[in-house]
């Protein structure tokens, strides 16, 4: 299973709509980095509104993806993390401290714009 990656001008948009299993998450990591490389994207928004569970493995993959993208010069914003998911992550002691977040896709794009202008 592959997660589709959309291109919008300088940005890449991803809306995760499936229950993330390990293989899908790792495949996504690889696909996204290739796409950033290919398109020379400046920013990425990953929308997690439909994701209802993030365990420590998926959290690690997401954190890694943000760090790797940053290395390649693309800023990443995670959006739409659900209350239950956020609370579970905090309970587990996973803060994702270096990862920028926004409420939804729209605000995520605003945030990217601000960060890139700053």
């Amino acid at each position: 299973m592959r997660i589709p990656i959309l291109k919008l001008k300088r940005y890449l948009l991803i809306s995760v709509q499936v229950d993330l299993d390990d293989q899908t998450a790792l495949q996504f990591q690889e696909d996204l980095l290739n796409k950033i490389h290919q398109e020379g994207s400046a920013g990425v928004v990953i929308d997690l509104t439909s994701v209802d569970m993030i365990d420590s493995f998926i959290a690690k993959v997401l954190g890694d993806v943000v760090e790797m993208s940053n290395l390649m010069g693309a800023k990443v914003v995670l959006t739409g993390i659900q209350p239950g998911v956020a609370i579970t992550l905090i309970d587990m002691g996973i803060m994702l401290e270096e990862v920028p977040t926004a409420l939804d896709l729209e605000q995520g794009l605003d945030k990217l714009q601000q960060e890139l202008e700053a």
Binding site: T79, P83, A86, L89, I90, M95, T101, L103, D104, Q107
Partner: protein, 273 residues
């Protein structure tokens, strides 16, 4: 109930009660009855003595119901449990004195009667304690529920700005509830900035601070920002003295300053016209 006890109690009913009442006066000192009217104390004692003796001839179920209605009524008017447990101890002592001093009971039966008295009194004590604790647990449940209902709502004050006032002590259970309300409210109102107002939190110790920090982290994960407001001088002192690091998110002394800061973060400001 056992015949030898019944016989003894009924033949000496009057003396037993009189002696018991005389000694009950000593129990009253320094306890609840100090403030109660003498008439009420006398009435309760009369009723209590009559009930104790009545239970001798009741079956278990009837005794249970009578004790329950008696204890419910007294609990309601604030009689402490200890008054009745002490009263029962005294009753036992009075009875035993009767058994041993006057030749009321043939010596062959003393031991047997002694045991019967013990069982009788223990039964009443257990029942009273059960009734009292049952009612305490019930009250506690109700209070917990009331506290839950009192728990923090998230109030939208401007577009994208909401306030959550916290009132009272924050324990782990309440902290969880606060966090859930907070996050669900943020999604519902699309809040970019939330002000958590701790003006009404009496004490901020490491535990409370931990809960607040966790809430702020969770708020950040769902994509909003947290400003902690209502930090009184003594709270600032304890936070620093305890070595709690709140450095990761902004704090303001008052709700007003917090709102100004929130507007600024969402590119707005209040101007005089």
């Amino acid at each position: 109930m056992q015949s030898s006890v019944i016989e003894m109690v009924y033949t000496h009913r009057h003396e037993v009660i009189e002696q018991w009442k005389e000694e009950m006066i000593n129990i009253q000192e320094g306890e609840f009855t100090n403030g109660a009217a003498q008439a009420a104390v006398t009435r309760t004692n009369d009723e209590f003595a009559a009930l104790i003796i009545d239970t001798l001839e009741m079956d278990k179920e009837e005794a249970r119901l009578r004790l329950r209605s008696f204890s419910e009524r007294l609990m309601y008017s604030g009689w402490p449990l200890s008054y009745f447990t002490k009263g029962l101890q005294l009753f036992r002592r009075v009875l035993l004195r009767f058994m041993t001093t006057n030749d009321t009971i043939p010596s062959s039966k003393v031991f047997e009667t002694f045991q019967e008295v013990e069982n009788w009194m223990d039964g009443i004590v257990n029942q009273l304690v059960d009734e009292y604790t049952g009612s305490w647990e019930h009250t506690l449940e109700l209070q917990k529920l009331a506290l839950k209902e009192l728990s923090a709502p998230l109030i939208p004050v401007f577009e994208n700005i909401s306030v959550m006032p916290l009132i009272g002590t924050i324990d782990t259970e309440r902290a969880k509830l606060v966090m859930e309300n907070l996050l669900e409210g943020i999604i519902e109102h699309r809040s970019q900035v939330v002000l958590i107002d701790i003006t009404g939190v009496p004490v901020v110790d490491t535990m409370v601070a931990h809960h607040i920090i966790q809430a702020a982290e969770a708020v950040r994960l769902v994509g909003a920002e947290c400003i902690l407001v209502g930090i009184r001088p003594e709270i600032a002192q304890t936070i620093v003295n305890l070595g709690i690091d709140l450095g990761k998110f902004p704090t303001k002394s008052t709700l007003r300053k917090g709102i100004e800061s929130g507007l600024e973060r969402t590119n707005r400001q209040i101007v005089n016209l």
